[in-house]
Symmetry: none
Subunit: 147 residues, 4 copies
């Protein structure tokens, strides 16, 4: 792909399904290791689902929370859970509930400064969810989260 | 039914409509006894409605709250209302409002360790709602809630 | 697990995440082989998502169509696409768009007569979508679809 | 209750939960007799759910279709399924999918000219669904449907 110099279309990166599946697999391996069943969801840079897996014993509702965390991390380009509670609730309501910044478990996928997706994990504690998402992130060489 | 050993399909239980109807009836009897009209909703293990009854005088909104409580109890496998307020609000938002852990009245239906459904009651006080849901649970032999 | 004789709780099966992931993998392998990128979604017996993968080049909207096809197959216990067009449109509307019987690509997962889930595939032709879903079904020993 | 003569508030009727439960029971009895598991839903005159039961073997999606049929019958005061197809689809879309006039199975509950609710049945054929709803209607003395 030629690098384009026009300001109207710029070069970027996209996460592939191989990448998304690898994230799921590393995440599941970590979840199994710590004995915490979770749902892991991976979204693209626009917050649209690329991949998801709900493990046996994960809460049914984690299908929803893993998605909102992944969406949130991809949207703001930072891990979730650092926003003060009241602000998180207000922006959550202001986005019809799409944005969930108040709880840990959402991790952005950032490659060379480009936010190319997000990983969301739900059903364990916030710390465990984030730990599992970070384990999944390792599937993408050079990808970084932002705290 | 043969017990299956493959890890890809596992044995489980399902709540029948006879069971769901029996839960409604015991719940209504209890609600009548204490003079508190409520909505009682029963969901399956994935949180989808099996049965519901809105009693005369119950709040219109209890159609919604009885459902979210039943869904929540089926999802987490514990009675609702024990989660600290702020945490309940945040996870509620993170699930598009589907999860309602902050108020009492949701009771899981657990048979031999399998979560096969949930009962949600709304319109009375939280304690009364839970009391009515627990009365309904008695319709299922050997079923237990978890506090 | 003891077989229960009461009519209020009956024995059944559940699809595990190992099973759901194996379905994704066989489905992706088939899609790669025929050169058609798709989204593959697996739901449980109540239509709630267990696993999903959107392949590179699959339509964005296939996140939605793969889900409605999987939900539909799990709900009616038959492959989708056999319902006459007008009927499919009407029942689709009557279910807030949740039911999508009018196009191929949804396949139920039936084990010993129990509908334990559904597979939905979207983004290729209806015939190819169904072919990929059927390839995925082979991951579950003894599972059958119904035409 | 005194009859009020002012035009600003008028006398009406309301369906009780005893009535709604009796409708469910007659409907279920009929469904069992003809061997067709269904979901039966009863709504009040404003289309809000009073009672519902999803029978074993009924389609998961019938939770939705039984509701839209009951809502539709209560809204228009006629049985569903008589509206020409294209008109039914257009008004269905125009109501965000809430109105489902294109398929049988919705029956209004009319007492002395007052529409006090609706019964919706889904999962069998349209004719069977309507038959079961009409069987349920008999629980309400003097109630009539309108074709």
């Amino acid at each position: 792909m030629a690098k384009r110099s026009t300001k109207r279309v710029i070069s970027s990166y996209r996460l592939t399904h191989d990448g998304a599946l690898a994230i799921l697999q590393l995440g599941v391996a970590r979840a199994v290791k710590i004995g915490k069943p979770v749902t892991i969801t991976v979204v693209d840079g626009s917050g649209v689902q690329l991949a998801s897996l709900r493990m046996d014993g994960a809460y049914v509702h984690s299908v929803e929370s893993a998605h909102t965390k992944a969406y949130s991390a991809a949207s703001v380009g930072r891990v979730t859970g650092a926003t003060p509670d009241l602000g998180a609730l207000k922006i959550g309501l202001a986005t019809y509930g799409k944005l969930s910044l108040g709880i840990k478990g959402g991790v952005p996928i950032i490659v060379e400064g480009h936010i190319i997706g997000g990983i969301g994990v739900g059903s364990a504690s916030g710390e465990e969810d984030e730990d599992i998402a970070m384990a999944g992130l390792k599937a993408i060489n050079g990808a970084k989260a932002k705290f």
